[in-house]
Amino acid sequence: MSDRDDWVRERLARLEPPPRRPGFDEELWERAEARERTLARRWRLASVALAAVAATAVAAAAVLATGRASGATIDRTFACTTQVQGGLHVFQIEAWPRDPQLPAAGVQLTTLTQMLLAFNTFGHQPLAVDESSCRAVKRAVPLSGKGLPAASTFNVGYVHFTARCLLGGRLLVRVRVHTDGSGRPLSALLALRMEKRNLPVSFIRWSPKRVVAALGSRCS
């Protein structure tokens, strides 16, 4: 910080910062919220499209088969590697009930630039998992929100529920999805925990009509 030229510095110090125009803050936060809503919509539409593509491109994602005749239940547990930002493992949960502007309700877990796990009511596949980040494990993960703060409820038409979580290591996800006869998800429970210490991170109860989400202190 010692490379300054004093004469020039003294002149530049006369630059007076122009004052904020009235309503600057309000305008900024309105624009930020509008932009987030637009991005969330685009992201969800993209995930729906991705899920549709994944139905034919089985190589990238493991599509878990179900009995087609009378519905089925998938109950799997995965250990997922998340991407690191600022020394912490980061992932994002998005869950949305039915919305008139979207073709599907669903849930997705993503890390910074990758999708980890997703399902939605658009396709006829109950669950898509990125096998390069997540592998199936045999670990006991309770499907409950025990140890987490009170849950919040989001009903039909809620635009954007998203939470960003930070962990010290890998993520443990147990997902139980109930499907109809065609493989379309009807309801689901997701329990997210830290793999190392087995501490609860989040618990989501999803259906096309309602999302109930409990978030631990590692999420905001």
Binding site: M1, S2, D3, R4, D5, W7, V8, R9, R11, L12, A13, R14, L15, E16, P17, P18, R20, R21, F24, E27, L28, W29, R31, A32, R35, E36, L39, Q85, G86, G87, L88, V90, R164, L166, S217, S220
Partner: protein, 182 residues
Amino acid sequence: MEAVLQLAARRRDPLYELGVARLAVTPRRRFENLLDRHEPMLRRVALGMLRDAHRVDDVLQETYLKAYRKLPVRFESERQEAVWLYRILHRSCLDELRRRRRRPEVFAEVEVEARGEEPGSSLLVAAALAELPPESRAVVLLVDLIGFDYESAAAVLGVPRGTVASRLNGARRRLREVLRSE
């Protein structure tokens, strides 16, 4: 939620602490805190880059929107935080200058405003900076106004340290000539 927190605060309830702590770490709070520390200098740099005080708010809004969307979970150091923020501002200013090149009539109006100002006034300093190419303007503002070292300025501008040094020499020389002739 507000009412619950107020009640908890009166009772010195741990819930109050928990609520306050959780509110304090929301991305918006973190971002507002970041702006509190940097905004006055960001405004000066934007004015120095653009010369036009009327466009500073628009460019800062764009900068803040980009920064808020990409706000990292944490910064390794204050230097990293400042470099990250000024890099976004720098790019937003260049975008604005490119747009302005397509609308030269706006710039002509501002030039007229600078005439008849007191020597060394804010407007004349901004006018003198406008005599420099944008790349040199950015270097002199980063080093001589904000106080960045060459490495930090190079990181903001995405150029080698040697380029910063050579641009800075030329920019200082030209700035002296212009300001002394006013």
